[in-house]
Amino acid sequence: MASPAIVLPEHCSEEKLSGIWSWITTVDHKRIGVMYGVSALSFFILGGVEALAIRTQLAMPNQSIVGAHFYNSLVTMHATTMIFLMVMPLSAAFFNYMVPLMIGARDVAFPRLNAFSFWTFLFGGLFINSSFFFGEAPAAGWFGYANLTSIQYSPGPGVDFWALGLQTLGVASLAAGFNFIATILNMRAPGMSLMRMPVFVWMTLVVQFLVILSFPMITVALILLTFDRMFGTNFYVPEAGGDPLLWQHLFWLFGHPEVYILILPAMGIVSEVLPVFARKPLFGAPFVIFSGILIGFVGFGVWSHHMFTTGLGPVADTAFSLATMLIAIPTGVKIFNWLATIWGGSIRFTTAMLFALGFISMFTIGGLSGVMHASPPIDLHHQDSYFVVAHFHYVLYGGAILGLFSGIYYWFPKITGKLMDESWGKVHFWSSLVGLNVTFFPMHFLGMQGMPRRVYTYEGGFGWDIWNLCATVGAFTLALSALIFFINLLKSLANGEQAGNDPWDGATLEWTLTSPPPVHNFDLMPKVTSERPFWDQKYGSTHGHDDTTEVAEEEQLPAEIHIHMPPASYWPMVVSFGVITFFAGLMIHPVVSVVGALTVIVGTVAWTFEPE
């Protein structure tokens, strides 16, 4: 059929879309996705340098390369950076770039709100990290337990930077949560029923529900903390009857859903990558989807397994222990489904596939040690030891980050139009795999031998020396692998092989578009008849009953199609700036906060009256 001419609005012209101003004012989900990705990878370097400093300090007993207090700052900032500024925004990069493409939409439901989320995230991240230059970086741990965070025990500005920075990041995540749920539920292409959505989109949906329901609880926890520190209230002050455990409950009510916020996107990516490179549909896709939903749901009922040692009593311990073990079932279902997907497939061992397979194996190791912690008596021994550090690095590095790397190698050609170099990619994969096992596996032994977490140095002769040295060597191997990745990324960006539209023989809608996709994504709304629309288009329907006839009715197309695109706007960034000014003002002067609040109000009103 003759394709109709596409007429885009004037503000989408070539020259209007170049230059730094076009990035600052962009409301295009693809550009926002790229900005999320670049920011997250920059913070990845920062968090990685902090990890190297930690491992250098711990390489040998009785070292004093960094002082005790700065070590605490490093531990706190490494965790805060990797969780909130690396894994979450890198996942957000994929949500932004891929979800509208995968569901056949032109953009997200609220493009300007999306830009607001990005800028608020970026300002929040920079705000927390600016603490390094203003006296003191946060040093009370990423979990910020009361009453270590009280004025009495943390008199410096670090905790304020941390609390207000996280609050800002929370605003960004909540706004993105409302936006993405509305997008996924409402903006699917005709024929894309919920059960035909790609699993990655499903996992995004579950994650956003977790975000909007769990972040308000840490918002309250942080508000109470800020009031305690700035206005002298008594929420976490034991002398006045306040209970430090209140913080732990509120924090982990958020904190446990948060770990699924970190891992489910990677699970979604792996569920897209494995079928394509095994050339088989995802085995038992509905089970994978419902397992993800179940993980999200039960994830709200297990927070107290972080608190077994606080003495909640046998009833609470039993209930939380059971709920925690229950989560292993849907997780196990997913792992077996992934294995069944590659079973008997014609497998292509691309870098993306290797990272996906690495994800399955490493995540399983982390999952197994996780089930051990579900038992309160065992947890009493593990708590605050390096065994726990080993566990969550297997699920976070071995799980989330390997999964995200898989996503980068898989979607880089779509985003840039270039292929990433496969040979260097494989070197990156194997050095990551070796590096992470050399770093984190010995930590199991260290934990069993009684080495506590969060100590800045230790005495020799406990049998810890060799494993600490081993972990440090592993950490530098990981740094080397990251360096290889970044060189590959930049080299491929500069002169990588042309990717074409569909380099991997993909099954989902994003591969039907050019690489990179045009600004308006789809000329015409795609019509979806199965969960693998592009495979159906290329190879015919794989379903028993042929429902492709729906598209057979040739539609009479107009000669010209005018596409409405939202214009660029700087108001989202102005409002974000108001938000961060408001929070920063709480530390500087009330007048600054008032200016921030007024900026938010003026910006919001101006934004509302802007033509869409």
Partner: protein, 206 residues
């Protein structure tokens, strides 16, 4: 998609797959999220309730509460939900005069509620209930203060919608926009019913 014309304008998106407009859906989600916010604040209040008595650290709720005054302000806020419903009904009928009337009255009733709260805070403060004083002071002011902030923002929002009806932007005062403001307003009302019951009325149970 119409095929009768030689050129068609493809609007941003096809109709919502979920049957609810984007804005309304996003607002329902926001309210779900806000439930968790108030849930956490209320849980904090309840978990500390009565603890001051153990520490002999007054003043206590019954030293301060005047259930008559708070009942009047509660009635005022509930009536504002009625006027809000009337505003939504008016815009649905396209009656701009009544829309303005009911929106203005809702904002006024909301402002009166905030005024009651201002009176209550001042009165309690003078009676010796400090934010920094005891747990009741900390939890009471923060919980009701956050609710009061929600009401205040709601009043500002309603006034903005009202002001828009007099400007060249009056086309923006659509049924959907008024309805979404109404969703928020009713939510804030419902939260107050919970707070009034748990914070005030519960003190009078034996």
């Amino acid at each position: 998609m119409s095929s009768d014309h030689s050129a068609v304008s493809v609007h941003e998106h096809p109709p919502p797959s979920f049957g609810v407009p984007n804005l309304k859906l996003a607002f329902w989600l926001f309210l779900a999220s806000d439930c968790m916010l108030f849930g956490s604040l209320i849980a904090t209040y309840l978990s500390y309730r009565g603890k001051d008595q153990l520490f002999g650290n007054g003043p206590y709720p019954l030293d301060l509460f005047s259930v008559e005054v708070t009942t009047i302000s509660t009635f005022d806020l509930l009536m504002s939900s009625v006027t809000m419903v009337l505003a939504v009904a008016a815009i649905q009928r396209g009656n701009m005069f009544q829309t303005r009337l009911w929106l203005g009255l809702t904002a006024l009733l909301g402002a009166i509620f905030v005024g009651f709260q201002g009176y209550e805070f001042t009165h309690f403060y003078l009676e010796g209930l400090k934010l920094q004083g005891n747990l009741f002071g900390s939890t009471f002011y923060v919980l009701t203060g956050f609710h009061g902030t929600h009401v205040t923002l709601g009043v500002v929002w309603l006034l903005l919608v009202l002001a828009t009806t007099f400007t060249k932007h009056r086309g923006m005062v659509t049924h959907l926009n008024v309805e979404v403001a109404g969703l928020y307003w009713h939510f804030v009302d419902i939260v107050w019913i919970v707070i009034f019951t748990l914070v005030y009325l519960m003190e009078y149970t034996v």
